[in-house]
Symmetry: C2
Subunit: 256 residues, 2 copies
C-alpha cells in the first residue's frame, strides 16, 4: 500500500505547494510511482503541473462528495510515474456541504483506500487553513511534512498546527507521525532566519530534515510552464534540493 | 465616519498582514487615528503589534458572535493613534457557528457602525481564504487593497478574488471599490517579477499603486518585537515604502 504524506502548514505562502509538486516529482524520478492530490481550492498544485481540470472534468470534489471513484479522477502528468488528482474552486463549498454528513473527516482516507497497486507514495497538498480539507488530509495520511519559513509569523502558527495534529491522532488517526520539518527559502545570511532555525532545532531535534531549500527563482518560474523544477531546470539549486529531500524522505519513510 | 479598507488576497503569504500592520501604523503616524481589525484566526496582526489577546479577553470573536460591543474589544498599541481589535483561534469556529444565522455576512459591518468618532480609518486584515471572515470584511469595507507577489500562483488566484469581490458588490455592498493593488517583495532583477508586473499593469492600469514594497528583512523582524516597522526601524526601506503607500492611500481615499 502506498505511503501517504500530507504537506501541511496553515501559515500562508511557506512553500506547501512548491514542496508538494517538487517532492512528488522527485519521488517519481526515483522510480517510485507517486500520486499528488491537490486538496486546495486554489488549485495551485494542479496548474503548477499543467493539469488544471477542464470545466466539467471530475476532480477531488467529485471524489470526496462520492460522485466519482479514484480511477476516474487520476490524471497523468508530463513526468513518467507522476499522476495527479486536480483540485478545484468548488472544494470551497465542501466545508459546508459535508457539515452534517457521516464520517466527513474520513472521506479522503476512504477514497485513497482504492489506490492502484503501482503507487508507492501519495502526496497531499493542503490549503492554508485548519479546515475540513486539511482535516481530511491529516486523517488520510501516515505522516505529515511541515514546510517552514524561518520567520516570526510562521513560528507563531506552529503551536496551532501541532495541536491540530494531536487532535487528529487522538480522534481519528493514532499512527499519524510528523515525518519532519523542512526549511524553505532559508537565508542563512539573516539573523532572523538563523534565530528561528535555532529555536526550531531546539524544539524538533532530529525531526528537522537535513535538506534545506534555498530561495531559488527557478522554483517560482517552473509552475508558469506547468512543470516541476526537475523538468524545467534540473541543474538549478531548487531542483537539487528537492532531489536531496526525496532521498531523505525515502530513507525515513520506506524504513517504516 | 471612518473609511474602511480591507486588505485581502486568498493567496497565502503575499503580505496581507505586513501591509495591514504597517499601513495602519503609517496612517496613524500621519495623525489620522486608525483601528486595525485582525480578521484572521492566525492572529498575526494582533501579535505583530504586541496586542495578542490574553486568555479570556474579548476579541473579534465576541464582537461577531454578539457577546461584546466594539468599545469592549478596542485595545491601544505602542503607537499613539493606532488601536487594534485582536483576532483569535476561536474565529475558526465562526464559519460553522453562524451557518444558519441571519445576516451572517453583515456582522462586522454592523459592529463597525458603532466606531468612535475619532477614527479616520479602519484597516481589516483578512485570512488566506475566501471564507465567511473574508466575506464579512468585504461587506464591511468601502474599498479593498490587494497585496500581490509578482509570481505565478499569486497571479493565478487573482481571478477568483475579483469574482468574489464582484459577488459581494452584487449582493451586499454595491459601493465596494478596489482601492488598488500593491506589489510586495517586488524584485525587479528577476524576469518573472517584471513579466507578472507587466501583466498586472496591463489589466489594472492606474489601480496599481505607484509605491512598490521591496523585500526588506526589517519588515520580517519588526513583528517579533511586537512593533510596526516605523517604530522598529524608521530609516529602513520597508518603513519608507509604507509611509509612501500611506500618502498614496490618503490621496486616493480621502478624496472620496
Ligand atoms: N524556495 C523557493 N524559492 C523561490 N520561490 C519559492 C520558493 N518556495 C516557494 N516559492 C514561491 O513562493 C510563493 C509561495 O509558495 P507556495 O505557493 O508554494 O506556498 P504555499 O504554502 O503553497 O502557499 P498557500 O498558503 O497559498 O497554499 C510561490 O510563488 C512560490 O513559487
Ligand atoms: N516586503 C517584505 N520584505 C520582507 N519580508 C516580508 C515582506 N512582506 C512580508 N514579509 C514576510 O513574509 C511572510 C509573509 O508575509 P505575511 O505574513 O504578511 O503575508 P500574509 O499574506 O498575511 O500571509 P497569510 O496568507 O498567512 O495571512 C512574513 O514572514 C512576513 O514577515
Ligand atoms: Mg499552496
Ligand atoms: Mg496574514
Amino acid at each position: 500500500l502506498p505511503r501517504i504524506l500530507a504537506i501541511s502548514n496553515q501559515k500562508g505562502g511557506v512553500g506547501k505547494t512548491t514542496t508538494a509538486i517538487n517532492l512528488a516529482a522527485s519521488l517519481a524520478a526515483a522510480e517510485l510511482p507517486t500520486l499528488l492530490v491537490d486538496c486546495d481550492p486554489q488549485g495551485n498544485a494542479s496548474s503548477g503541473l499543467g493539469a488544471a481540470a477542464a470545466p466539467g472534468e471530475p476532480t477531488l470534489y467529485q471524489l470526496l462528495s462520492g460522485e466519482a471513484e479514484l480511477a476516474q479522477v487520476l490524471r497523468p502528468t508530463a513526468l513518467e510515474g507522476l499522476e495527479v488528482v486536480a483540485g478545484s474552486r468548488d472544494l470551497v463549498g465542501l466545508n459546508l456541504e459535508l457539515l452534517g454528513a457521516e464520517q466527513r473527516e474520513e472521506r479522503l482516507r476512504q477514497a485513497l483506500a482504492q489506490a492502484p497497486e503501482r503507487l508507492r507514495f501519495i502526496v497531499l497538498d493542503c490549503p492554508p487553513a485548519l479546515d475540513l480539507l486539511t482535516l481530511n488530509a491529516l486523517v488520510a495520511a501516515h505522516a505529515v511534512i511541515i514546510p517552514m519559513q524561518c520567520e516570526y509569523f510562521a513560528l507563531e502558527g506552529l503551536s496551532q498546527l501541532l495541536a491540530t495534529i494531536q487532535a487528529v491522532q487522538a480522534r481519528w488517526n493514532p499512527t499519524l507521525e510528523i515525518a519532519g520539518v523542512v526549511f524553505n527559502q532559508f537565508d542563512e545570511r539573516t539573523h532572523l532566519s538563523r534565530q528561528v532555525a535555532n529555536d526550531l532545532r531546539a524544539h524538533f531535534g532530529a525531526q528537522i530534515f537535513r535538506t534545506t531549500v534555498p530561495r531559488n527563482v527557478r522554483l517560482a518560474e517552473a509552475p508558469s510552464f506547468g512543470q516541476p523544477v526537475l523538468l524545467y531546470d534540473v541543474r538549478s539549486k531548487g531542483s537539487e534540493a528537492f532531489l536531496q529531500l526525496a532521498r531523505e524522505v525515502i530513507e525515513r519513510e520506506l524504513a517504516q
